[in-house]
């Protein structure tokens, strides 16, 4: 029963998934989408709870056992706690009630209000729909309507300059100057009022730069991998080296300008031998994936259920 039940569920859903490929009826597809998207999303939500439990357990165990470099586990657990706190309190875009004082850069103005954002994403949202941001808590400086500026080209220094110009113009016209308007520095504007920190800011400020750093390391790894791959140990490696040299050289406009036929040769290598081998692999992959699916659907392959009978 322990095995039969999941296998029966798997068999029924797999057959249904297969049927929906060949049946055109909308209701069939709607139900298939429900299974694929919504049901899987629910399962995923439960799995995330299990995953978090695993993460906490793994690192607390490391700390308890004083495993090698156990101190790093504190970093993970503290980061998890801080992110959870900010996520629950501040929300994805700082729409919740977590009060946090932080600095930022003035990048937007709309309807007489100047807004402070700490991320490009928030600015983009603001640009898409400024009225959504008509929130006085985000204003650092109240301006009359005439100071509304094209926020697309808006920078803090520009704001300061613009305020100064408007200030002078009002003085020359002999008009009263609103008390809130005064030429201010970037820092003054940036730190004048508080605004909310959000999960999005954490993501953009920490995770994205860290991810980009890892991705950038790929370039260096590629160099060392290329060195190993292109060493001429045998005939095959030699062919690879020559082909790679032609393809790389063919990418350079200056080289293609001076060497006639280089571009065509590069394209031929990519389109004929390279594509042929890729397609060969892909046919094998397609058959292998089909065979694996068949094996699982028919219950021949049961390793995914854990070993044994």
């Amino acid at each position: 029963m322990k095995r039969r039940f999941p296998m029966t569920i798997m068999f029924l859903f797999a057959i249904w998934g297969g049927i929906s490929v060949f049946v055109g009826k909308t209701k069939v597809h709607d139900f298939d989408n429900l299974l694929r998207n919504k049901l899987l999303l629910i399962v995923g939500a439960f799995a995330i709870i299990l995953g978090l439990g695993s993460l906490i357990f793994h690192h607390t165990q490391k700390i308890k056992r004083k495993a090698r470099f156990w101190q790093y586990s504190y970093v993970t657990l503290i980061a998890l706690a801080v992110t959870t706190f900010i996520g629950l309190g501040g929300g994805v875009r700082g729409e919740r009630s977590l009060p946090t004082i932080f600095g930022g850069t003035v990048i937007g103005a709309h309807d007489g209000l100047v807004y402070v954002f700490t991320s490009q994403a928030e600015k983009n949202l603001f640009m898409d729909e400024p009225s959504r941001y008509a929130d006085p808590t985000k204003a650092v400086l109240e301006l009359p309507r005439e100071f509304e500026t094209d926020f697309n080209r808006f920078e803090a220094s520009q704001l300061r300059e613009e305020i100064h110009l408007k200030h002078t113009a009002l003085q020359l016209k002999g008009q009263p100057i609103p008390p809130m308007i005064s030429p201010v520095s970037n820092q003054q504007v940036a730190y004048k009022k508080e605004f909310k920190i959000s999960l999005q800011q954490l993501y953009e400020g920490i995770l994205v730069p860290c991810g980009s750093t890892m991705f950038a390391m790929l370039a260096f790894y590629m160099c060392s991998a290329a060195y190993r791959a292109f060493r001429m140990r045998n005939l095959h490696a030699g062919v690879l080296l020559v082909a790679a040299f032609i393809v790389m050289l063919g990418q350079i406009p200056l080289a293609t300008a001076f060497i006639p036929g280089l571009h065509e040769l590069r394209q031929w290598i990519l389109d004929v031998p390279n594509l042929a081998s890729k397609r060969g692999i892909m046919i094998g992959v397609g058959l292998g994936a089909s065979a694996t699916s068949f094996k699982i659907i028919l219950g021949i392959e049961r390793a995914w259920l854990g070993g044994g009978e």
């Binding site: 490929v21 060949f22 049946v23 055109g24 009826k25 909308t26 399962v43 995923g44 799995a47 995330i48 299990l50 995953g51 978090l52 695993s54 993460l55 357990f57 793994h58 165990q61 090698r68 470099f69 790093y72 995770l207 860290c210 991810g211 980009s212 890892m214 991705f215 390391m217 790929l218 790894y221 590629m222 060392s224 991998a225 290329a226 190993r228 791959a229 692999i281 892909m282 046919i283 094998g284 992959v285 058959l287 292998g288 994936a289 089909s290 065979a291 694996t292 699916s293 068949f294 094996k295 699982i296 021949i300 392959e301 390793a303 995914w304 259920l305 854990g306 070993g307 044994g308 009978e309």
Partner: protein
């Protein structure tokens, strides 16, 4: 000079006015009759048969006379207002993303340099969804043929027919690699890819995980299995746990050995790199679907001196694995791995079916290429999925 003088004297004399000669007024040019602009003819709007619905095919014939610059297709839905759908020089158009069972009317204007001429409207026509999608039939036939091969070889294996399976060096090395970990007293690191459970490569990787875990139980080696996806984590954990139980060593299972790490791609790569550097595993398995993080992990693993066995069906990542790892399962070998390692006759039967499936594909490709080359007929259209 004299002539000029005489002439000028004569001009000075008064010349009696001659009576004006009445001339008939020039007839006004008759405006050319406006050119007759003919509309497109025989507009036919039809539902595309045997599909998901939401698609109508519109065809028309060129006007009797004149060559239009282009045609403008207009469509009216339930509200009755015509809106432009497309401008085309062709005489047919497929309108997509329509609602099923909603009547639509069409008309086509032929646009000339001096104006345009609109055709009459078509009768209301509805898009429908159909039970059978004939465009997918080549796939269904291929599945049927391949399924038959699979069942044939499974039956042959059941009957006890000896099936020869070619040696896959990457899989033969699994036993040695885990043995090496035993000798060195170091753990085995298994990364089941960075994709989700919907990916067949992930399923194949989880199948291999069961076989690798079985060997780690036999050799009493620690296995470390970090996961990027929470659903994959739960399944991987169950697989390893069940394997320990089925091998009679449930007490030896360390619940901390299979864990969820992080769902972010590069954070996961950084985490796996950290494990490689800290734990110094003797053997590293990188099996499943990988993206840009493949080389980051494989190069770090290579720098630790571990034996690395990788397997992926991602054509773009294969060169990285081939370069940085000791053994690489290329494409289909990843799917064959669990059968190869398990040595179960029925599973080996599926390997033979895979090989014969490739043979069938090869024959079809050669025959269709010959037909296309020598007859000029596009034979591929017979098996093209629409």
């Amino acid at each position: 000079m004299l002539a000029v003088l005489v002439g000028s004297g004569a001009m000075a004399q008064e010349i009696p006015a001659e009576p004006a000669i009445e001339t008939a007024p020039e007839p006004e040019p008759i405006p050319e009759p406006p050119p007759v602009l003919h509309p497109p003819r025989n507009i036919v709007a039809q539902d595309v048969p045997h599909d998901n619905g939401g698609v109508l095919n519109i065809q028309w014939e060129p006007p009797i006379e004149g060559v239009p610059v282009r045609y403008v297709l207009e469509m009216a839905g339930e509200d009755g207002f015509f809106q432009e759908v497309t401008r085309t020089a062709l005489t047919q158009y497929t309108v997509m993303q329509l609602e099923n069972f909603v009547p639509y009317r069409f008309r086509v204007a032929a646009v000339y340099e001096k104006g345009q001429s609109m055709s009459p409207e078509t009768e209301p026509v509805m898009a429908r969804d159909h039970w059978l999608k004939l465009g997918e039939m080549p796939v269904l036939i291929a599945i049927f043929v391949f399924g038959s091969l699979l069942l044939f070889f499974i039956q042959a294996a059941r009957r006890g027919v000896e099936l020869f399976v070619r040696r896959i060096s990457g899989l033969t090395a699994v036993e040695d690699a885990i043995g090496r970990a035993t000798e060195m007293g170091k753990p085995v690191l298994y990364v089941p890819g960075t994709s989700t459970i919907e990916d067949v490569a992930t399923l194949a990787s989880l199948n291999i995980l069961g076989e690798v875990a079985r060997r780690t139980v036999h050799y009493d080696v620690k296995i470390i299995c970090p996961n990027k996806d929470p659903i994959v984590y739960t399944i991987a954990r169950e697989i390893v746990k069940e394997t320990y139980a089925s091998e009679g060593r449930p007490d030896a299972f360390d619940p901390d050995s299979v864990f969820f790490m992080v769902p972010d791609q590069f954070a996961f790569a950084a985490g796996v790199d950290g494990i490689m550097v800290r734990e110094q595993p003797a053997t590293i398995f990188l099996m499943g679907m990988f993206w840009a993080e493949s080389l980051i992990m494989a190069e770090t693993g290579a720098s630790t001196g571990a034996i690395q066995i990788a397997g992926t069906d991602s054509v773009a990542q294969l060169p990285f694995f081939i370069t940085a790892c000791d053994y690489t399962l290329i494409g289909e070998e990843l799917y064959a791995a669990s059968a190869y390692l398990g040595r179960e006759p029925m599973l080996l039967g599926t390997l033979k079916a895979q090989d014969y499936g490739k043979l069938v594909f090869l024959i079809i490709m050669v025959v269709f290429t010959l037909i296309s080359v020598f007859s000029g007929y596009d034979a591929a259209s017979l098996v093209r999925v629409r």
